[in-house]
Symmetry: C2
């Protein structure tokens, strides 16, 4: 008996919590791997890294790696290392993102750049990224290194494309798709795909996990971008509009511009290309929510989630597979 | 005949120029490799990357890789890729350094962060770093990936240690040595060592190149830190004191504090730990230059350069080896 008998999945668990329970033993090893690689004689590094990595992260990406490996046969020590490396790459991009976006809050805590400054965030991000490669080298798989190195380039390209698109509302859906595919979905895809590779899966299974990760990542980011404008049920008091303030054109705004009346179009022309003011946000919210752009964005997310689920069809049935299917719906329907 | 007959090394060439001439054929391939990996559909990436990578870089690190490979037998396609990867890692750290230091000028040009902003510099730095790993994967050598991944972690640790030491003058020689060993010498060592590995060199030769690179890197950084306070022959009009302005405690300042009179010590206590003002720089320069700290720093650099030369003793004689020997003296005696 490998699975601890005591684990029970409660009806009210989210699919992510259920997945974490099913993979509790493996995830615990991933956490040890993560902690052991944040160690450094330079005290500022573990300070910054622990603040980010310990605080409220849901370990979504490492769980994809572990789930794929488990479904495909076994979670080897290499898969554990890989799952930790994926979280390090994610953490490094978060540190740099917060500097680039000038963010002050993440997961309900002050951001590292606010506490330790932009300089520390840039350099500790570099450290985590380099450490991710250390861990990947330790997996001994050149194929996995190849995938993750290419993915890391793609993420950076996506981030630069997003930066170059800032304050341009007319980027269109194609560029938007490119940005979110590169900055978000690529790492989801690599995490799932390389978990399968670690377990020696067939090309068919590897491709299935790659597609699942890619589509799940798209659904996740689309949903995130809808939530940034309050989602379907805008909670009072919840911080909304960060993307607007940062001049990031996301799908809700792109759709609102597509659907704009002449008067509304004039507003978008005016606000795009200049610093977005707080009073502009109220108008932007009204136009975005009024034209059904949130619903349309979530519809797009649902389409992607369905593609993710479909990709799993080739796999044998299992509890973990069920969780991954529910996870696809969950990332679309979550409220935060 | 492999070597082009037309290459002549003039008596007034620097050892670096002489090395570039001896390795002209290989260096040309490195340049092609560099250019081809800066290509991206996201236009901002080649803009920023070319600005940095094309402009005045002396290709010192790639030349170490090529020289080591050549001396050890052959410069394979893998060695060419590796030499380009090393330059990409160096370029990525320069982009991030300039953001962290708030620098406005590099190699006589405006820095990328001044032209395109800190955000672009952070993200394009990430891109170059990821691309470096793409290229290293293409070498197919897990040993080289291991060395360069560990070196990248070390560089980031050195940068963070330097940041944590900023505005602290009392860091002492040991911490200073750790900083410059990590942020500068480690990449010199990895560049030379892995060039030898690429050529299938013996452990003895690999160790010799590792030590040569390490000691050359220390000599290079010590000399750089002496030059920042004007070197032996302070040129009028040359920008000096950047390290002081940025609160970076380097060996000239550390020695000046060691040798300070009571009155001088009071000055150092006063300026350390607060933002360094322009008028403080004049006093600091006077104390540093007056106590012989520049000479002492360059003496330390000379010692390191001698160790570098000694490391090459095990190698057979060749024109390239002669250049490497002269290069060690050159990095200490250069005036800019």
């Amino acid at each position: 008996m490998n699975a601890p008998a005591a684990i029970k999945i409660a009806a009210f668990d989210s699919p992510l919590e259920a997945l974490a329970k099913l993979l509790a033993h493996e995830l615990a090893q991933t956490e040890i791997e993560i902690s052991s690689h944040m160690v450094s004689a330079v005290g500022l590094i573990p300070d910054v890294a622990h603040h980010l990595v310990d605080a409220g992260g849901k370990r979504l990406r490492p769980l994809l790696t572990l789930a794929a490996a488990k479904i495909c046969g076994k979670v080897s020590p290499a898969a554990i290392k890989l799952s930790a490396a994926v979280e390090f790459i994610h953490s490094a991009t978060l540190l740099h993102d917060d500097v680039v976006d000038g963010s002050g809050m993440r997961r309900g805590l002050r951001t590292a750049n606010l506490i330790w400054g932009d300089k520390a965030s840039v350099l500790v991000g570099d450290f985590l990224f380099a450490r991710a490669f250390n861990m990947m080298v330790a997996t001994g798989s050149m194929q996995i290194l190849d995938i993750l190195a290419a993915t890391s380039s793609t993420i950076a390209e996506g981030e630069v494309l997003q930066l170059a698109s800032a304050s341009r509302g007319d980027i269109g859906r194609e560029t938007y798709d490119k940005i979110i595919s590169a900055k978000t979905a690529a790492l989801f895809a690599a995490a799932a795909q390389s978990g399968a590779i670690c377990a020696g899966a067939s090309d068919e299974y590897v491709a299935a996990f790659c597609e699942y990760g890619q589509e799940l990542g798209m659904a996740f980011q689309l949903s995130d971008d809808a939530l940034d404008y309050g989602g379907l049920t805008q909670e009072l008091g919840k911080s909304v509009g960060d993307d607007f303030r940062e001049g990031k054109p996301t799908l809700p705004m792109i759709i609102a511009i597509e659907r704009a009346s002449d008067a509304e179009y004039g507003f978008w022309q005016m606000v795009l290309g200049r610093k977005h003011e707080e009073e502009d946000l109220q108008t932007a919210m009204q136009y975005i929510r009024g034209c059904g752009a949130i619903e349309a964005t979530l519809q797009e997310a649902t389409t992607r989630a369905n593609c993710a689920k479909q990709a799993l069809n080739v796999l044998p049935n299992s509890e973990i597979k069920d969780c991954l299917i529910e996870l696809a719906d969950y990332v679309v329907n979550r409220v935060s």
